[in-house]
């Protein structure tokens, strides 16, 4: 068990250490400085920009940015619907998988466009290779969308008073070519060398020890899994995601996949520091996020390692922890760690079944998605966190007797309105969605694996995962039917784009405001004190919104199990 814990600590420490230089590189990319990859990609990009008639140097204000973002995302969504519904006759379908129903295609397309990857299908039988490739494309561009949106925020915070905040298409393309693509190639190679398939051949077959012949699904898995994690997408090639032996063959690949899903969200924090030349601010954000992460992660690992008391009562040895639903090659500690990392970071890939984790571990996974701001997804993590910063700035500004200001810009009614709408949306989506499902048990409860508190947790988890654009499932929920496909689809759209537009709008409004130089009376927003304030705001808002629902789910289950 000691080695298992050490493995987790090592995984986490290496990620943080690597995130700092990587963040510096990201800041360089977005600042438009020269990088090694320019000679490779510049001519290619320029060609594409020329063909599409986009002037990558034309700067946009925040509204133009958002219009570009929504347009391009809408086109991808339509393309996705088309490919998925017609995959049966489109090329690259060696296994002869059928075309999808409209409601499933709607859900998948949306969920990949919004970087969620709530998979209501199994990759083996549900999609063709062409579909997989298109989904892989979406994994790149949806991550790049989030990163570009975050960079608009960076630029807006950097400018003293300006309308012009860079070009959206340019930001998105360089996110792909300078950051996601090279990193993906690296990660995919490591995976391929460790046994993850990378082929366009159809199903392979093996003869088991019993002598049966079993068909094994293969495909371009290594490439898919690399961007699935680097882009914090989480949509697996196979139905069981990273618990599948070909998607995540051994402890090393487990570490690499873990590393790849945490690296960009972490590096974006440091990139903010380098970009704005406010390193202390980056450390404040990192500190608060890390504290939040540890508060969720440490107890979860502890509970998972301790094992299930109900099973222990039956005389089963719990020496290696609560192993139900976990892979023996990863163990309970690494699985517990993954379950929090993947929910905190909005990846939503799993290497063990969250349905089988301890009740309070399940609560921690839920809380990780309910806060959705400790690290968070590619780019969007910082955007979510920014909303909490605005709320904290407002309250603490009042507490020190000064009209609240952030980085020299006054926070007033309009910004508060936007911040409140974004902050409200998350509980609204989760609670209203779950309430609808709970109100129509005749439709929904047939899909539940478990009755009672756990069944309630399954529904709550599904909507929480959708609203946090996470995409992991409590599994155990039979989710491929019109009810879940359509309701979660709408939750996905709203919960993706409003929390992107909101923070960018605030930043855009702030960028237009007059800059007020700091004085001795200004509250420093890069101090530990302010960090504490942000943490308090996050905890209070999350706790207050979700306490009753958590009580009826995991908390009730926990108390009943003792």
């Amino acid at each position: 068990m000691k080695t298992e814990i050490l493995g987790v600590v090592a995984m986490y420490a290496v990620t943080i250490l690597m995130a700092i230089p990587f963040g510096k590189y990201i800041a360089k990319v977005y600042a438009g400085e020269k990088t090694l990859l320019d000679s490779v990609f510049n001519p290619l990009e320029n060609l594409f920009f020329r063909i599409s008639g986009i002037d990558r140097k034309a700067e946009m204000n925040w509204k133009q940015h958002m219009a570009a973002l929504l347009t391009v995302n809408f086109v991808w969504f339509l393309l996705g619907m088309f490919v998925l519904m017609n995959q049966d006759w489109l090329p690259l379908n060696p296994d002869g998988n059928p075309g999808q129903t409209a409601d499933l295609a709607f859900n998948i397309s949306i969920s990949f466009v919004v970087n969620c990857n709530l998979q209501h299908y199994s990759g083996e039988s549900g999609v063709s290779y062409l579909s997989q490739l298109f989904l892989m494309f979406l994994q790149f561009v949806s991550a790049a969308t989030g990163m570009a949106a975050a960079v608009i925020l960076f630029i807006a915070l950097k400018e003293r008073t300006a309308e012009k905040l860079g070009n959206f298409y340019n930001l998105m393309v360089i996110s792909c070519t300078r950051i996601l693509l090279p990193a993906s190639i690296l990660v995919a190679s490591i995976l391929a060398f460790n046994g993850t398939p990378m082929t366009f051949e159809g199903k392979d077959s093996i003869v088991t020890m019993q002598g049966d012949t079993v068909a094994v699904s293969t495909g371009p898995v290594a490439a898919f899994v690399a961007i699935k994690h680097l882009g914090t997408n989480g949509g697996g090639f196979y139905g069981t995601n990273s618990a599948h032996p070909l998607e995540n063959p051994n402890y090393l690949t487990n570490m690499v996949e873990m590393f790849s899903q945490m690296i960009i969200p972490l590096a974006m924090i440091f990139a903010l520091g380098f970009f704005l030349k406010r390193k202390k601010m980056a450390w404040m954000i990192f500190g608060v996020m890390t504290l939040g992460f540890l508060v969720l992660c440490v107890p979860t690992i502890t509970w998972e390692v301790q094992g299930n008391p109900a099973i222990a009562h039956m005389g089963v040895d719990m020496g290696s922890g609560a192993m139900e639903g976990k892979e023996t090659r990863f163990g309970s500690a690494a699985s517990g760690f993954w379950s929090i990392a993947t929910t905190v970071i909005s990846t939503g890939s799993v290497n063990a079944m969250h349905d089988s984790t301890m009740p309070l571990s399940g609560m921690m996974q839920l809380l990780a998605m309910m806060t959705n701001a400790f690290y968070g997804g590619c780019g969007v993590g910082i955007l979510n966190f920014f909303i909490f910063i605005i709320l904290a700035v407002f309250i603490s500004g009042l507490m020190v007797g000064r009209t609240p200001e952030f980085l020299g810009k006054k926070i007033e009614g309009r910004e508060m309105k936007i911040a409140m709408i974004v902050a409200l949306l998350h509980p609204l989506m989760i609670l209203a969605g779950t309430a609808l499902a709970a109100a129509f048990p005749e439709i929904t409860s047939a899909n539940l694996n478990n009755p009672g508190f756990h069944g309630f947790s399954e529904m709550l988890y599904e909507y929480t995962s959708s609203a946090a654009n996470n995409g992991s499932g409590f599994e155990g929920l039979g989710d491929n039917n019109p009810w879940w496909n359509i309701t979660t689809g709408f939750v996905l759209i709203l919960s993706r784009f409003i929390p992107i537009i909101g923070p960018v709008a605030i930043a855009g409004l702030l960028a237009n405001k007059k800059y007020i130089p700091e004085s001795a009376g200004t509250l420093r927003t890069d101090s530990a004190t302010f960090g504490m304030m942000v943490m308090a705001v996050i905890i209070i808002i999350t706790a207050l919104s979700f306490f009753p629902s958590l009580t009826l789910g995991p908390i009730a289950e926990y108390f009943s199990m003792r």
Binding site: L398, G401, A423, S519, T529, A543, F547, L552, S560
Partner: protein, 679 residues
């Protein structure tokens, strides 16, 4: 009258406020406050539930329990209304007492105006006076209404307004031409033009502001209301969705429990006290004898970055005083002193008087035949006296020098050196000459107010930069600025210099406050973010500024800044307190909601409350009574300590954040113990 230390709750004010608490229950009035409005809706629902039970429903619990909840919710509303009403009543009382000073006073209205005082007048009551009317006041008369002196000079007792008993001189022209209704003429005669229509004086405007008729929400209040409305909405979502959740888990929840949960969770504490805090801010300003023209001005004062202060009266005590006589070489000292005194006999300025004081002389000490006094003019920049064939002149260094050198006489080098020494020490040299020969130099010194540098230090810790404005030369100004501890100074300031300085700072994003009295200050007062006009100042200055200081006390700006900060802080800390309270309320109500059907949740009942009913009642009662407990704090404001923003945040987070989490745990437990006696 000034700053009476009356208790917060005077009996007559409380009675008035109690009455208002019920009047304010009108939903139309309450709608302005979204938080309390939702409480009112909840109260109505509970009332309906009570009737429902009376007509035979049995699923919602006993009538007594439901009715109690209804009563407590009603009480919550009344408490919140009372907070607002008592703040209004106090403000009104303060303003009324000022208004009383100008009740019906007979006035001598000038029928047909012409030069001089021998015009026909007619007795009218002050209420009938219109803007532009002219009246005459003589010794012993009360001034009927606000106006500007257009002719004459008088000593006036302003103690009714300022509390200051020493009479002041007001005269036509210049910057001290305003008179205030209710004050009394002690000597001489003045002709005054009415400047404000009845009901439109600053005081009337302020009373309207306090009464709520013209009270607009400040930008900050709007943003806070949005935050609170957001929190209210979150809990609407939480409570509405709880219904299907509970049904799904087969745990029926009564309407009373739902409403109680909702009312406890929404930020009623700050919602109920919000407007009281704003009114109390204006009221505190009024208690400091400052009339504000809007609530926003008080709030802006808290954000001020730069403070422009006049040197005279603010940083230094009144005017310069003569401190030394330096005779020129070869001139007997007593001759020089005698000449200095003679040149100052007719000089009514404080400087002139101080020369006599220093020489220990009176105007009759030296008898001279047939003196002809030469008045000070801006051109000659000197004054003096001629008698027999002697011409004594006293004036600034360069004016006397040009006088002396024009006559072909040398200017003694030792006096020139002395002049420089005096200047660089912050003093003002006045050179005296007799028949175009220099006799010596009189040294005038500024006296810096004791304790003023500590106040500047305090401001610096708040992040406010202080700027001294003076007509002195840069050398003198620098010396005084350093000695007093101001951050910057504007020397040889002309009115447009102030204006330019304000504009420059504002372009850099700073908020600037200044105080002024003269007509030539008016543009700068209007330009400044907070412009405080002295009540003694001209009408133009008073119109231009957004506050009027009745005391004419230039250091008042410092108090105003603190009042503004207090106002924001009180809002912030009570918001934090209110929201932090929810943690304990959750732990009281949530187990109570579910314990009947999910006994395992007893584990969440960490306060070990007696029963579900007592738990809910205790939470609602706590939620109600915390409002009156906090009214004194809302009215007095949270104390401001200039210890730096981060330290202040830590301190307030500790007291109101942590306190806000802990206090209700204790409070609810105690109430539960008491409530369980009956249940």
């Amino acid at each position: 009258m000034k700053n009476q230390n009356a208790s917060l709750f005077q009996k007559d004010l409380v009675n008035e406020a109690l009455k208002q608490s019920f009047i304010k229950l009108n939903p139309k009035v309450l709608f302005r406050n979204p938080v309390m409005f939702t409480v009112e809706v909840g109260t109505f629902v509970m009332f309906a539930v009570c009737i429902w039970i009376l007509s035979g429903n049995t699923a919602q619990g006993s009538f007594g329990y439901n009715f109690t909840i209804f009563l407590i919710l009603l009480l919550t509303l009344l408490f919140a209304n009372f907070a607002e009403a008592i703040a209004e009543a106090r403000g009104k009382a303060q303003a009324d007492s000022l208004r009383k000073t100008r009740e019906e006073t007979p006035a001598k209205l000038v029928v047909e105006n012409k030069q001089g005082f021998s015009v026909s007048t007619q007795h009218v009551m002050s209420a009938q006076m219109k803007k532009g009317d002219i009246f005459i006041c003589e010794a012993g008369d009360n001034i009927p209404t606000d106006g500007e002196i257009i002719e004459g000079l008088a000593t006036i007792d302003e103690s009714a307004i300022t509390g200051e008993s020493a009479p002041v001189i007001r005269e036509a022209g210049g910057d001290k031409s305003s008179v205030t209704g209710g004050t009394k003429v002690l000597s001489d005669k003045i002709k005054v033009m009415v400047t404000t229509a009845p009901g439109e004086s600053f005081l009337d405007k302020m009373i309207a502001l306090v009464e709520g008729a013209s009270r607009q929400k400040t930008p900050n209040e709007i943003a806070l209301t949005i935050l609170l409305a957001g929190f209210t909405l979150v809990f609407v979502i939480v409570c509405v969705t709880l219904k299907p959740f509970a049904d799904y888990s087969n745990t029926p929840i009564t309407i009373a429990a739902f409403i109680s949960l909702f009312v406890c969770l929404i930020p009623t504490t700050i919602g109920g006290l919000l407007s009281a805090i704003g009114i109390a801010g204006m009221d505190r300003a009024l208690r400091a004898n400052v009339i504000t023209k809007s609530g926003k001005a008080v709030e802006t004062a808290g954000d001020i970055d730069v403070l422009l202060l006049d040197k005279t009266g603010t940083i230094t005590i009144g005017n310069r005083k003569a401190t030394h006589f330096h005779a020129a070489n070869g001139i007997p000292e007593n001759h020089f002193i005698k000449s200095a005194v003679l040149s100052s006999i007719a000089d009514e300025t404080p400087e002139g008087k101080s020369i006599l004081e220093l020489a220990n002389a009176t105007p009759s000490t030296y008898q001279i035949p047939d003196p002809r006094f030469i008045k000070f003019t801006a051109e000659t920049r000197s004054s003096g006296v001629d008698f027999e064939d002697i011409r004594i002149r006293k004036g600034a260094f360069d004016s006397i020098r040009s006088l002396v050198t024009k006559a072909g006489n040398p200017f003694p080098p030792e006096i020139e050196g002395q002049v420089k020494t005096i200047s660089s020490n912050g003093g003002t040299p006045l050179v005296v000459s007799e028949n175009e020969r220099v006799l010596g130099v009189i040294e005038l010194q500024d006296i810096i107010k004791p304790g003023i540098s500590e106040r500047f230090e305090r401001l610096r810790k708040m992040g406010v930069k202080t700027v001294m404005v003076t007509g002195d030369n840069p050398l003198t100004a620098k010396f005084i600025a350093e000695k007093a501890g101001v951050d910057d100074f504007i020397a040889e300031a002309r009115p447009e210099d102030k204006m330019n300085y304000i504009k420059k700072e504002q372009e850099g994003g700073k908020l600037v406050a200044m105080m002024g009295d003269g007509t030539n200050d008016a543009p700068a007062l209007a330009q400044a973010d907070v412009g405080v006009a002295m009540n003694s100042g001209t009408q133009a200055a008073k119109e231009a500024g957004n506050m009027v200081d009745l005391d004419n006390d230039p250091t008042k700006l410092i108090e105003i800044v603190e009042i503004g900060k207090q106002l924001l802080m009180t809002r912030g800390t009570l918001t934090t307190f209110s929201i932090a309270n929810d943690v304990a309320k959750y732990f009281a109500i949530i187990p109570a909601l579910f314990i009947a059907s999910i006994p395992a949740l007893q584990g969440l009942n960490i306060m070990r409350l007696n029963s579900p009913e007592s738990a809910i009642l205790s939470a609602v009662i706590f939620n109600a009574v915390i409002i009156p407990f906090l009214i004194p704090l809302a009215l007095k404001g949270v104390a401001y300590k200039p210890i730096g923003a981060s330290a202040l945040l830590r301190r307030n987070l500790f007291i109101y954040g942590l306190g806000g989490i802990l206090v209700p745990f204790i409070g609810i437990k105690v109430i539960d113990i008491v409530v369980s006696i009956w249940i």
